[in-house]
């Protein structure tokens, strides 16, 4: 160590930079067996028979599980989440996915069998001996084709492939507004299908203890309760018989909220075989089977009066569900779009109609933002399109229509209550940061070099999650000398919970962060709370941590009083100690003196908080430069002003902004899951044909804040997890559109790959 040696940033970092982290596939248990999945190689087919005899005879093969075994075990289908109520009052037609395919497969990659053997290679070799006899059916892999009359039907209970038609807002009011509008604009945008691709491929290891009847399942989660609940739901095993263990989770982005087929099959295999069973996926099978994201088409209609005041917005949205209903899914194309469908703008009338459609593709679920970035993107593109179409400056159009600061709390036309913001101030700060005044000169300079410059805005607003649990509870345990252990439900998949929550408790107690140890989802703790998701962990569990601090001080005060021979109310608590005049005693010393053998300590207590939905917002400004000879785009500058409320851990928040911005850029410039329209085969099945964002895609993200603290939680924080995507998708695409519009290129969809940009420029030059 020397003066040039900086300090470690996060509590979790030392183990992660030294290779001592424990991700799911790093766990092994004595005597474990290995599983390999057999998946459909057809997009749509009837299964006539499955011949497992070759596999069973293969060297090292121990067992083969098929749908018959799942049925015999009494398992249900995979969880589907809350249903959506359709416009006609009926409930959504749900088509849950069987754990293993029974008589039919509906997408390439659907699980058909699990092969268990003495080694991973033996399981893979045996799996290749399984013969599935199919009768192919016609497949439909895109929404437009799926709802056409005569399209192949996926599910008999949903003959039109429409799972539901839902709505939000006031259609009549919107129609009336359009009837009296001076200016109208319509724009349809597609948020293409993506894969979440957390870097840790999904893995699970399950064991069963026959004596206690207890299952232990090692698996990545966003918080143990959601995973345990869904495992219990499918298997029928009571929740208190399932221990879920996830120490380090290598990213989630929405994918670790509940069980897939493999986890419950491993539980079944572990019980019936009497040995632990481990499964580690390949990346290729994740492309073909792990829930996809986005896959939405949003058609916006904007009505304005003669002064360009917005009168109404209407949305006609289509959400591709993939082949089956799965958890989170229905919310994405309905509630998560509609809740902020007016964005940062005063829109006196709002209406959204949503179609949820089945296709022969991987089921779609949550992916970083789960509909929120999509609607933010669609709104900001619609605003820019309206400005260009009707010849009003895009900044002026925004200024005229921002919800003013005086209007908060502001109730939108469809009933959402925004707590607060400073939308115009945020945009002005972003304009200054981006040197918008100098853009014209920069554009002219670029043109002299033969490059096309564009600048775009994303004035986004999104709803962070209220959470499914009624409250968030955290507990403090003082059993270990010199340390406060804090337990909670929400589990990190990279957010740094062990650092953030420890900091809140340590700051509140006036002790060092290293003296507080946060642990998620400890099986010994029965707590209520939400998992990580909806950008809410920090203000949900974090608020509970703040309440915990107050509770700890309250509980310790009486003990301090007797130790200091003073009255409790005469004591002052500061800097980690109770003070009575010149005498004082440190909190951790009190804990030490009270230490008892046994399970509970006199200072052990809980803190809880109920935190409602709040509204992170911001203005991101992107500046791009296109080389028309190659279609290659360079992001020249990226400036972000966010209102995330109170920021607790600035470095971690900035990291979330960076990561979110680049994840949005991934969708803008490359990522795209593509199926062949004829065969339904997946064409983008690996990182070789699915471009993940790499170092150098955006080099200079600058960010700052215009915080308007919320009063809806104890910390004043609004959440940050998803805001980066919500800002970067519109900012980057509006910058691309700004550049391309000057060359006569009509509105185009993501991704802006060099080939697509070059072709669009070439087509525009021809016409």
């Amino acid at each position: 160590m020397n003066a040039a040696t900086p300090a470690l940033s996060r509590v979790e970092d030392r183990r992660l930079v030294t290779g001592q982290g424990r991700y799911t596939s790093d766990w092994n248990l004595p005597g474990q067996l290995y599983a390999h999945m057999v998946r459909s190689d057809r997009a749509h087919a009837v299964i006539r028979s499955i011949d497992t005899s070759g596999a069973r005879a293969a060297e090292g093969c121990v067992a083969v599980l098929t749908a018959d075994d799942v049925k015999a075990a009494g398992f249900t289908e995979l969880p589907t989440g809350a249903p959506v109520k359709a416009t006609d009052g009926s409930m959504q037609v749900k088509c849950p996915m069987p754990v293993l395919a029974t008589d039919r497969v509906r997408f390439v990659g659907q699980p058909i069998a699990m092969v268990i053997a003495t080694s991973a290679r033996a399981a893979q070799d045996a799996a290749e001996q399984i013969m599935v006899d199919y009768d192919d059916l016609p497949a439909v892999v895109n929404m437009e084709a799926a709802v056409k009359p005569g399209a192949p039907t996926l599910h008999d209970v949903s003959p039109t492939n429409l799972s539901a038609v839902a709505e939000s807002g006031d259609e009549a009011a919107v129609k009336a507004a359009f009837a009296r509008a001076k200016y109208t604009t319509t724009l349809s945008v597609h948020s293409q299908r993506l894969t979440g691709a957390p870097m840790e491929p999904r893995a699970s290891l399950a064991s069963f203890d026959a004596a206690s009847g207890l299952y232990t399942v090692y698996t990545p989660t966003q918080g143990m309760l959601g995973m345990r609940g869904s495992l219990s739901q499918v298997t029928g095993v009571p929740q208190d018989r399932i221990n879920v263990i996830a120490q380090d989770v290598g990213g989630s982005f929405g994918l670790r909220g509940g069980t897939f087929s493999e986890q419950v099959l491993l539980m079944l295999a572990a019980r019936t075989l009497g040995k632990p069973v481990k499964w580690t996926s390949t990346r290729s099978e994740l492309f073909a089977s792990e829930w996809h994201g986005r896959a939405l088409t949003l058609t916006g209609h904007l009505a304005m009066d003669a002064d360009f005041n917005i009168l109404a917005m209407r949305w006609d949205d289509q959400a591709d569900l993939g082949a089956y209903t799965c958890y989170f899914q229905a919310f994405i194309g309905t509630r998560n779009l509609a809740v902020t469908m007016g964005g940062v703008y005063k829109a006196p009338a709002l209406y959204c109609r949503q179609e949820l459609i089945y296709t022969n593709t991987v089921p779609v679920s949550a992916y970083r933002g789960a509909g929120r970035p999509d609607i933010a993107y669609a709104i900001e593109r619609l605003i820019d399109e309206a400005a260009a179409q009707h010849g009003i400056d895009r900044i002026e159009l925004r200024r005229r229509n921002f919800i003013p600061n005086s209007a908060f709390p502001y109730t939108t036309a469809n009933g959402t209550v925004y707590d607060g913001g400073d939308f115009e101030g945020t945009m002005d700060k972003a304009l200054a940061m981006a040197d918008f005044a100098g853009f014209a000169a920069r554009k002219a300079e670029a043109a002299q070099r033969g490059r096309i410059r564009g600048l775009g805005f994303g004035c986004y607003l999104e709803a962070s999650g209220a959470g499914g649990a009624p409250k968030d509870v955290v507990s403090a345990r003082f059993g270990e000398a010199g340390v406060v252990q804090v337990f909670g439900v929400t589990g990190s998949s990279g957010q740094g919970h062990e650092t953030s929550f420890a900091k809140i408790v340590a700051d509140g107690l006036g002790i060092e962060t290293r003296q507080v140890r946060y642990r998620a989802s400890d099986p010994t703790q029965e707590l209520v709370g939400n998992g990580t998701g909806g950008s809410r962990s920090l203000y949900g569990a974090g608020s509970a941590c703040k309440m915990l601090v107050a509770r700890i001080i309250e509980v310790a005060r009486a003990h301090a009083a007797s130790m200091l021979d003073a009255t409790p109310e005469s004591l002052e608590f500061r800097d980690g100690a109770f003070h009575a005049g010149a005498r004082s005693i440190a909190l951790l010393d009190i804990a030490g003196k009270l230490a008892v053998t046994g399970t509970s300590h006199p200072l052990d207590c809980e803190g809880e908080a109920t935190s409602g939905m709040t509204f992170p917002n911001g203005c991101h400004v992107a500046e791009v430069e296109i080389d028309p000879n190659t279609g290659v785009t360079e992001v020249i500058a990226y400036n972000a002003i966010d209102d995330l409320g109170v920021v607790i851990s600035p470095q971690l928040v900035q990291g979330q902004v960076h990561g979110g911005v680049l994840q949005g850029a991934g969708q803008v410039f490359g990522e795209h899951i593509i199926y062949d329209n004829e065969t339904g085969q997946l064409l983008t099945g690996s990182f070789m044909d699915y471009p993940m964002p790499r170092a150098g895609w955006i080099n200079n993200i600058r960010n700052d804040y215009n915080p308007v603290p919320t009063t809806l939680n104890a910390l004043g924080a609004k959440g940050v997890g998803e805001s980066g995507c919500s800002g970067s998708m519109p900012a980057l695409v509006n910058a691309m559109s700004d550049a391309l519009r000057g060359r006569g290129v009509p509105a185009m969809d993501m991704p802006f790959t060099p080939a697509r940009v070059w072709a669009a420029l070439a087509n525009a030059a021809k016409s």
Binding site: A4, T5, V17, T18, S25, G251, S284, G655, I701
Partner: protein, 160 residues
Amino acid sequence: MNIELNINGSTHSIECEDRTLLVEAIRDQLGLTGTHVGCDTSQCGCCTVHLDGQAVKSCSMLAVQAQGASITTIEGMASGDTLHPVQMAFSACHGLQCGFCTPGMIMASADLLRRHPDPTDDQIREGLAGNICRCTGYVNIVAAVKTAAKMIQQAPANRA
């Protein structure tokens, strides 16, 4: 077949199949689980280790091919409690979030700094083009590599 692998300064004799990949031998047979597997097409770089000082993707060679070479994994980068400058800089600059890509990133970065002790931003980006991170947006990773370069220059003894 029986092979000998020299990893992090000690020699191990292991029994493996001909087809065993180096990363499988490292993880499954030697229990060094800091080296990760993030894909199956040599794209992600999570499995990067050093072979005679050079960064290689351990998913892209057979274990038997590594016989006779000196292999360093992420577990071999620190000296006791003293972290390698690249490890230290990744944390200090918040160049990791979930941490899954981090061992590979650190191994690739250390090799990059061996070849370019004072790298430009472009050299860093090019040097890390074979490593995918889904969390950080790479901004802080590039900053970490620059910081590590400074640490090594200011205190060459820091170089592992």
